[in-house]
Subunit: 354 residues, 2 copies
Amino acid sequence: MPPAQRHPTMADVAERAGVSASTVSRTLRGMSTVSPEVRVRVEQAARELNFAISRQASSLVTGKTGVVAVLAPTLNSWFIGSALSSLGPVLRAAGMELLVYVTPDMTERAAFFERLPARRNADALMVFSFNLTDEETARLDDLQMPVIYVSQRAECRPSVYVDDVAGALSGTRHLLNLGHRRIGFVQTIGASGFTFSSHERLLGYQQALTEAGIPLDDDLVVATPVGHKHRTAEAIGRLLSLREPPTAIFAEQDEVAVSVLWTLRRARIDVPERISVLGFDDHQMAEWSDLTTIAQSPDELGRAAGELARALINDPEADRARHIVLPTRLIPRATTAPPPAAAPDPARTEEKLR
Amino acid sequence: MPPAQRHPTMADVAERAGVSASTVSRTLRGMSTVSPEVRVRVEQAARELNFAISRQASSLVTGKTGVVAVLAPTLNSWFIGSALSSLGPVLRAAGMELLVYVTPDMTERAAFFERLPARRNADALMVFSFNLTDEETARLDDLQMPVIYVSQRAECRPSVYVDDVAGALSGTRHLLNLGHRRIGFVQTIGASGFTFSSHERLLGYQQALTEAGIPLDDDLVVATPVGHKHRTAEAIGRLLSLREPPTAIFAEQDEVAVSVLWTLRRARIDVPERISVLGFDDHQMAEWSDLTTIAQSPDELGRAAGELARALINDPEADRARHIVLPTRLIPRATTAPPPAAAPDPARTEEKLR
DNA sequence: ATGAAAGCGCTAACAG
DNA sequence: CTGTTAGCGCTTTCAT
């Protein structure tokens, strides 16, 4: 009988089942070379002793830790939270655990990259939404384990991300199809780690305009940090005070789009009658606000990243530069509509005057 | 020289520094019994080889894993996300890592409790916002490691939570002080794992009313799931159609309070002129919406939980039933004001008639 | 199909 | 102050 205050070991289980430790190990790992009767005895003994295997010990010999590490700037983010919530079960199904390194500030981040603690303690590293410096990327390349870039495109390295260009393109097309010709774009600044998506979305917007033969107008692109009412109001003010103000505003992120809605509402500008508003993400708040938006699925992203990690860990021959690109889809709701008929459209006015 | 495709071990470092493995071990753990010159040599050798210690190996002998496990129903939650984001750095400062078990559904949860994988793979377990069954709690009691209950009160077990009763009490008092006498309360239903707080907040509300000599009225308490516009509108409708409708509405959660704001706005009921709205949490959205609310700090909670974990792990003599209760504070913003003077207050009307 | 033995990388006694 | 030695709990040859 094992000492009371200690976890039972395989030796304890072996003794109780009347077999050797090797057999216990084989049984518990589901190897086929164990006779059915012995298997039953071992399993029962393990259950009775409430045995749990020590990963530390087994990884010492197998060289696999059974752990996937995640590096994320914060967990307090709709996007990362959702992705990790669906990553968890995927890993569990593969018998792996989830180790999280949060680096809310530069100090923490520097500490991570200096010590690279994941090195010996995980089989793969997943990097979430980061703007890595070249030096940091180089450090990760030396890591001797698969590094998966999530929500960012990393050349020649495995990565999983959403097709932001296509998303913004289809969103802008939706506005164009409704008849809008002056479309404002609100960029987000200072969102730690999301500049990659930010840039791509602007690109999609511009591409759609070009496609429609509408010249780009820098005055239509403004920026605001997320969650700063005043700054957002200011940015919208710049748009509204243009000689030809936009009839639609495309915010790069739902959280900002909702701020825009508040600003317009306060200014008594009806949405969508006077101005249409379009978001990106399909954040919970989008549904609550009845905001038309371009949906991406962080859940799917988490799952895909998990599968990719599993594949790369188990199969060293796997494609080490595989990119998984996830689609977006437009969700039309109540904040987009055709532009007002009486819109002050100088082009049209001129035509009438002629 | 160590093989190229393998991590260097202490033996490799020892050889390079011309000392024994024990000395390397002592040096790297910062023990004082190492001569300065040797320390320098060892540290340099370790750096040159890019050595990282294997936790698996050291925990095998020390019996400590250097890991704190967290059990959480989801990571996609403002509250849990914030708490974990600040827990991470606390643990890192103590040289520990953060292992996360997410159990988004009952299947995952059952799987966790059946295998209790944390058992051998962590030094402490932190349970976030869960409604555990007695059986589940009993399983955790058997775990042979400190289990810290976060955001819930667990009798005779270490736990960390916010003083919800006091918070709701002070919030309700604020409304009473403004002159409100009919105060509606909106409960949240179906929020996985938060029924503890939910109950406590109702209690605080009731306590404040009783204190003020106002009889409780069940009609003033309605419930809605979070994020269901229609259900929320319905609940508010029940309040508005009372014979004596409330002049203030206290929503147990900011996310619901914001929904309430939307509902009232759509109904063209001015806030706070006609009806005051009060939330609880100080969610980001509260600031954006200029919502008066009772703030709690999940960051502090995460930090406190981390400190408690460290204390319990390092000191077996520590108080194993210690409760840390965190304060809340009222943040007055733009959604609360005195009730309308012309409010249909039958009591006052009667007085006038007399 | 099963057991014996060696060893994964590290730490902790114990000598010196 | 430093080296030697003996495991920690498991997996993996290699026998049988």
